[in-house]
């Protein structure tokens, strides 16, 4: 069996698995219907389509706000209620189309509308029921690498929203499928968060595979203003919170990160400049008592000038601030500015932008999703083709069993016939039984061959998947596990393909290294990894994978 070491090889292997599957399945009547299922998966199209990240979550979690923050433009409509009613795609476009959106009607036709007309597609608007999906366009850099999809919230009070979101997550939506998801949660996680994530994972990942295609984002945390939040450093507090959530969701998401679309949008809006000036000045100049009053609540913040001792900007200025910037963001920035003694607006703005976590999120998406896009796509395809394959094997197993039982009956019958010397119609019966036996033998043979072929194809795909998935998981472990020497860590990362996926790169050798050197290096490293991979050894699981990979490389080199 040839194992893939590069992503391209893996993609090819998965593609060939998916392509061969329908032919194999069409060979017997027991499995012919499954061939149709596999063909319907449109494997080739899926692999070619642009990488797509879906933003999903429960209603009012702030999905559209986060999406706007990532695009850097208020394109997705946001609002007080469950605003998003349709599945909305955000595609890259360099210019002309960015002032309009495209409606894909339920009857298959499409039409462009100016952005201002969007109200009819929000909440329970007039056109939501007759629309399949909407396309928005932007020249944002982010969209150049991946499309984004905004979905209506789950746990919606509107059944239609719920259905739209679920059919999208399940990949049944007419508009297309998601390769990865950003799962937006409020700081209070709900029971159903786990369910939805598990559902997505089930459809895009093999059981037990690493979770590199989902990330959970904790949004709206700036609203928290009780318990430990009042006093603690908000950044540390939200980090602690995320670590906790990660513990709960670690089998479903690769990371839990905080982000605030609202803070990001506030910081990005040039119209807010004066407001930041006022806030920075206020934080730097007012006395402690005034500060306490100012951060107590929005109404106290807007109190008359007489209440404050001095150094507090005028009531008019303060009222202007809360008109520009939502109160939770005002309070948070005031506290941050004071704690960190940020004197000027630029420093405060930078701090708010950092607190919003939006740049860190974009970077994480780049690393976790976009760099592995080919792998994630291939895994999704594999996962989808997997079930029909397994069902086929189970059916063939049952058929095999059944045929062999029949064969047993035939043979027993023949023996009994042989025992009775003068049975009537003996000759005819003999002929009949023998013919039946031959027929059954041929059928058993056919089923057995198909089973073996399917098994072979499936196993090949699975091996390839496990090897590359193991690489990813091990790289993750290597990066976060302390206590490894830099040399060992570097060598281990190399084997996992961090420096390039070809065998020579994995062994830290130039591409034109002679075979003998490759083999020798691989053998040396194998002994090194095996010595460290014992049960219970520190970093045992890491080195077990490294050893396995090196063994596979040796096999490939010898072949």
């Amino acid at each position: 069996m040839r194992l893939a070491f590069t992503l391209d090889d893996y993609q090819r292997a998965v593609e060939s698995f998916a392509r061969r599957l329908p032919d194999l399945l069409a060979r017997t009547s027991e499995t012919a219907d499954l061939a149709v299922d596999v063909e319907r998966l449109a494997i080739a199209e899926t692999l070619r389509a642009r990488f797509t990240v879906a933003v999903v979550g429960q209603m009012r979690a702030g999905k559209s706000t986060l999406l706007n923050a990532l695009i850097g433009r208020d394109l997705a409509p946001t609002g007080i209620t469950e605003t998003t009613a349709t599945v909305n795609w955000f595609r890259w476009d360099p210019g002309e189309r960015t002032q309009a959106f495209r409606v894909h009607w339920a009857d298959g036709s499409e039409a462009d509308f100016p952005l201002a007309a969007i109200a009819d597609w929000l909440h329970a608007g007039a056109h939501t029921a007759t629309t399949r999906w909407l396309d928005f366009f932007s020249s944002s850099a982010f969209l150049q690498t991946a499309f984004l999809v905004d979905t209506p919230g789950t746990r919606s009070t509107l059944d239609r929203h719920e259905q739209a979101a679920h059919s999208f997550v399940e990949g049944e939506a007419a508009s297309g499928r998601a390769d990865a998801i950003l799962y937006v949660v409020n700081p209070v996680a709900r029971e159903s968060d786990r369910d939805l994530l598990a559902q997505f994972g089930d459809l895009t990942r093999m059981a037990g595979a690493s979770v590199h295609n989902s990330i959970a984002v904790v949004q709206k945390w700036e609203h928290l203003d009780q318990g430990p939040w009042q006093s603690a450093d908000p950044e540390a507090e939200i980090a602690r919170k995320c670590a906790h959530m990660f513990e709960q969701l670690r089998t479903q998401v690769a990371a839990v990160v905080p982000a605030s679309g609202m803070l990001a949008r506030c910081a990005a809006d040039p119209a807010n400049g004066p407001a930041w000036e006022v806030l920075a000045r206020m934080a730097a100049q007012c006395d402690d008592d005034d500060f306490e009053v100012l951060t107590d609540s929005e109404d106290l913040f807007c109190e008359a000038d007489e209440v404050f001792a001095g150094g507090v900007p005028s009531q008019l200025e303060r009222q202007a601030v809360v008109r520009q910037i939502p109160w939770p963001a005002v309070r948070l920035s005031l506290r941050e500015a004071r704690r960190r003694r940020l004197g000027d607006a630029a420093a405060l703005l930078g701090r708010v932008r950092a607190l919003s976590g939006i740049d860190a999120l974009a970077q994480l998406l780049g690393e976790r999703f976009l760099k592995q896009a080919a792998l994630i796509k291939a895994n999704t395809v594999l996962r989808r083709a997997w079930l029909p394959c397994q069902v086929a094997l189970a059916r063939l197993g049952a058929t095999d069993q059944h045929l062999r039982d029949e064969l047993g009956h035939c043979q027993a019958l023949r023996q009994r016939l042989a025992a009775v010397a003068d049975a009537p119609l003996r000759g005819e019966l003999d002929v009949f039984v023998s013919a039946r036996e031959l027929e059954l033998r041929a059928a058993v043979q056919r089923v057995r061959e198909l089973r073996a072929d399917l098994d072979q194809v499936r196993e090949e795909a699975l091996r390839n998947h496990e090897a590359l998935d193991g690489d990813l998981r091990t790289i993750g472990l290597l990066l976060e596990t302390p206590g490894l020497s830099p040399a060992e860590r570097g060598m281990a990362l190399q084997v996992c393909g961090r420096q390039g996926h070809a065998i020579a790169s994995r062994l830290g050798l130039p591409a034109d290294a002679p075979m003998a050197v490759l083999v020798e290096t691989a053998e040396e490293r194998l002994a090194w990894a095996q010595a460290r991979s014992g049960r219970g050894a520190r970093h045992g699981p890491i080195f077990a994978h490294i050893a396995e990979r090196l063994g596979q490389m040796l096999e490939a080199l010898e072949a």
Binding site: M1, G62, T78, T81, E82, H123, A124, T157, D159, V188, A189, R190, E191, R194, A198, A207, G208, H223, D225, Q226, G227, P228, H244, Q248, R250, T251, E292, V293, D296, S297, E298, D299, L300, A304, E306, I325, P326, L387, Q390, V391, A394, R395, A398, H402, R404, L407, G408, Q411, R448, D455, E459, A527, Q530, A531, S533, G534, R535, G536, A544, E555
Partner: protein
Amino acid sequence: MPSPTARIAIDFGTTRTKAAYLDPQTGRARMVMLGHGVPTLPSLFFLERGQPPLLGYEAEAWIEREPAGAVRVLKRRLREVRVRAGRTEISPTELLGLLLARIRQRVGEEVTAFGGVMPDEVVLTLPAAGSGAGPNVEKVMHDAAKEAGFAKVTLVSEPEAAALAYVRDAGAQAPDLLVVLDCGGGTVDWTCLQRREGRLVPMTECPPGGDDKVGGEFVDDELLAVVRARVDQSGDEAAATELERRQEALVGHLRGLRERFCLGRGRQVAAGDALHLGGLTVALGAEEVRLVVERRFVDQVCLGFGRYLESVRRHGGVAEPTVLLVGGAARMLGLREALQERCGCRPVGWEESDFAPVLGAAGVGVEGLRSAEDPMPREEDTVETAKPPTQKASVAVEEQPATDNPEALAKEPVIDERLPEMVALRQVPPQHKPAEGDDSTLTARASETPGKAAPRRRWMWIALVLVGATLLAHQAGRVLAEIMARVITQADASQTQWEREVETSVAEAAPAAAPAPAVVVDAAAAPVQQLVPTADVVERSVGESDVTVVPAEAAAPHGPVELSDAQKEAVKLASLAEKASTAKLRVLYLKKAIEKDPGERQYKTALRKAEADLEAQTPVVAKQAPDVAGPTVKINGHEWQRGDAERRMDWTEAKAYCAELNLAGGGWRLPTLEELKGLIDKGQPTSPSIVTALRATTPSAFSGYWSGAHALSALDQAWGVDFSWGNSYFYDDWRKNRVRCVR
């Protein structure tokens, strides 16, 4: 009369190998002691150039010294052409053949039931799914067994063998549909079996699956990681060195600890279980072990298996299929309970479930159900074994010894509280035709699926908002109505967009901010205080919710330089308040100070804090709705507090509150999550989504109630249900939620 047996069943596991045979004397399957007093042999091999391979305990001993020579998890590598260790390589067939030959020889020499002769027939188990399954693996196993000298080879799938063991042991009729959850050392597998033509075959619509990243070994490795972290923390170098030297043995020690802990159902870890490393003693706490087991095992199994069970329910049309919990890791602490709670199934275990596959395999062909025969039948094999299966089956049942003696059975250590049911099952007279057996046990357990929640209407909510606005307008004047109108009509899109979002999300994210108002009140509360020009504190009640409107006084300018007498007095009162020993006093002083000097903001801020403190200290009295018959109400077989506790409290307080509640006698507690969820009624036309009996005494917003269940994997979060719309959450336990006790 009993003649020696010539057949052995072998379960070649990922981590351990087991063997069993049918005792001709008793007719029962018995384990072979492959180790010293233990029925298992490590599935380990040790290779060294120029030496014959070592296996089992010998290999284990060598691997400790020379890890590079190890071949582990051979079961998952059977398809490979060759396996390597260091610079040596060998074919998997050969290696497996050696192991099988060793067992064959040992059994012939040491087990009396074989009459001193090596068995010539073997039943091998193989998984139903994963890398260790499939026709190509079957061939390897078959060839290996032949190499080991077995003349006849029968292969049976592990889940099927386990099901056979259950059917035999429980004396029960095999149900039409059976799910086997096999928890091993290195994998967890699930298979749904269907009875077809007297045989249990995998249900094709739900092909067998599993997770090979979860199992007993992963838990033990994690426990060692915990120990290692402790050692690292201590900085004790001698201990660290010893840890590295003895790691393989320590894993074994921790496995023992974990198994004892799980058998003791988590009550304690005995003092003798501490590890001594150099001069350092490391003792793991019960809570630590429990957490590792939960995170590394229970959570993951429930997740994967839960999805599988769902598809079984969907395709099999059975609401509650029988789930057999088998395998060495099946007794993992909390697994049974979690499966019950999270997957909604009642797993069945019995005294032999640890070794069910191999024990079941020992009886293959003799049981009421047939199993897979040799998959590669040569002419001679097939002729020899092909007896009419129906005949075989009925004979087997008739000859079966009387195992349905309830007295004898009651003595057996049956796991959990299912004993009476098991005995009842066994008392069912044996059926002569398994294919036509009754499935009453199955249908009796089938329960109806709950009805679908009725769709919610958005306009209802808006109507509520409007009603609230009208009511408030009555109290607070025209200005307020204007604000409400602005919020509702969403007039100014660009400017109020944020505002709107903020308001709703604050309403959602910070429910503890106000005592118990309706949604609308809270959303508008802030602007009210800012804009309503009245001087007095107004307390009114709207509907059932207590709404306190604390408007600001007239914005009368006061002298910025000279303090008036009243103001001086206020300062004095405020300083008294600072020094006051109790929150109650502080509130009193501050209120007086505000009377004297209504313009001073700081007093109000301080008063707010003092009032919050006071509230936190106030003893709790159960609130009773005026128009209900009694303080308690019976729902779903439990007695509930009709009204809830008068204030909201954090989780710890809530627990204490219930324990101390003296309402119609004691015995109160926080409800379990399931009990609390049982009160949800999504069919209600408006919020709160709670059963009608409690609607009058449950607020429609900020209606989060505590359950007594700590959320999984996090020590400072607990489950609760928000009845506003009937969702369950895990809340931080410092959060103030409502409390309704149950008994």
